[in-house]
């Protein structure tokens, strides 16, 4: 990652570290949230069952979680 160094060095250093680890922490928290979403969707599908839509909703929840984890991996590699 190449930051534009046309700024004060201290400002640059502080901002880059803060933004990088701040963003990674927030993504981790959001992945935990998506995991809770997936668990709740699966739990509710047992209470009220519409077989076809239950699969679709679980699939979407899985996709969001997968996208979140992929984004975290990409963020680690790129940043």
């Amino acid at each position: 990652m190449s930051f534009n160094t046309n700024v004060d060095f201290n400002q640059f250093l502080h901002a880059s570290v803060f933004l990088k680890y701040g963003l990674l922490s927030v993504i981790i928290l959001y992945i935990i949230f998506l995991f809770v979403v997936l668990k709740q969707v699966r739990s509710m599908n047992h209470i009220i069952t519409q077989p076809f839509f239950a699969k679709i909703l679980t699939g979407i929840a899985f996709s969001l979680l997968f996208f979140g984890i992929s984004l975290f991996a990409i963020a680690i590699v790129i940043l």
Binding site: M1, S2, F3, N4, N6, V7, Q11, F12, A15, L19, K20, L23, V26, I27, Y30, F33, L34, V36, V37, Q40, V41, S43, M44, H46, I47, I48, T49, Q50, P51, F52, F53, I56, L57, I60, A61, L64, F67, G68, L71, I74, A75, I78, L79
Partner: protein, 227 residues
């Protein structure tokens, strides 16, 4: 000579299939007069369905028939749908404004902005999904034996309550406002015996019809409160 070993040809399934019911025979006479005898398919965005097909719930009894399947009217989703559209459009608007003036965040590298933007859209996708799921799982069921209300809010609150029809004392509806009258939805209050909580079915479509069906089950007359 008696058989010692009788081979089992078919293995029983994990959840036994409910035998195809003769719905007409399971319905009370008062309901037969106001409802058709055949089941109707329920789709993903269905908010009101009489005699729904393909719906089951975990405490359903063998001879129980779901008479009404209810959710909040789909129009109640408009606020979060509008908010989502604005949130999706926001980065484009901000990007356009940023091109007109010198951005104070010009030192941030484009790869970082790309990750932030992807994460932003993931958050919006999660917001849309959670709101839809909250609407989707907030279901009320009226069967030939009881009233069942499933409350599901903000992913952390889950409440499933039910009462037998014999404990229902009164049912009334409230329809306030132009939008509710225009789209024909309102609140139905099912009052039960003192020890049991009342059921408030909020913003459900065709409230007068719901009250009519519940009254028919109870054998009472319609009580409305339309403002």
């Amino acid at each position: 000579m008696p058989d010692v070993f009788i081979p089992v040809n078919s293995t029983p399934s994990e959840t036994p299939e409910k035998p195809e019911q003769n719905i007409s025979s399971s319905l009370p006479i008062s309901i037969k007069n106001i409802m058709s005898g055949h089941k109707n398919p329920v789709y993903g965005f269905t908010a009101y369905k009489e005699l729904p097909a393909g719906i089951t719930f975990d405490t359903e009894e063998q001879d129980e028939v779901i008479l009404l399947f209810l959710r909040m009217h789909f129009i109640t989703n408009i606020p979060w749908i509008a908010a989502s559209i604005l949130l999706i459009a926001a980065p484009f608007l901000i990007g356009y404004v940023a091109t007109l003036s010198q951005s104070p965040f010009a030192f941030i590298p484009p790869t970082f902005i790309l990750i932030v933007r992807l994460f932003y859209y993931l958050i919006i996708a999660g917001y849309i999904f959670v709101n839809f799921v909250t609407w989707y799982f907030n279901v009320s069921l009226i069967t030939n034996k009881r009233v069942l209300d499933v409350d599901f809010e903000d992913l952390i609150y889950k409440n499933i309550s039910g009462t037998k029809l014999s404990q229902v004392q009164d049912v009334s509806l409230t329809q306030v406002g132009v939008i509710r009258i225009l789209f024909d939805y309102g609140d139905v209050l099912i009052q039960t015996a003192a020890a049991v909580d009342n059921f408030e079915l909020k913003s459900i479509p065709k409230p007068e019809r719901v009250v009519q069906i519940v009254e028919a089950l109870l054998g009472k007359e319609l009580q409305t409160n339309v403002i």
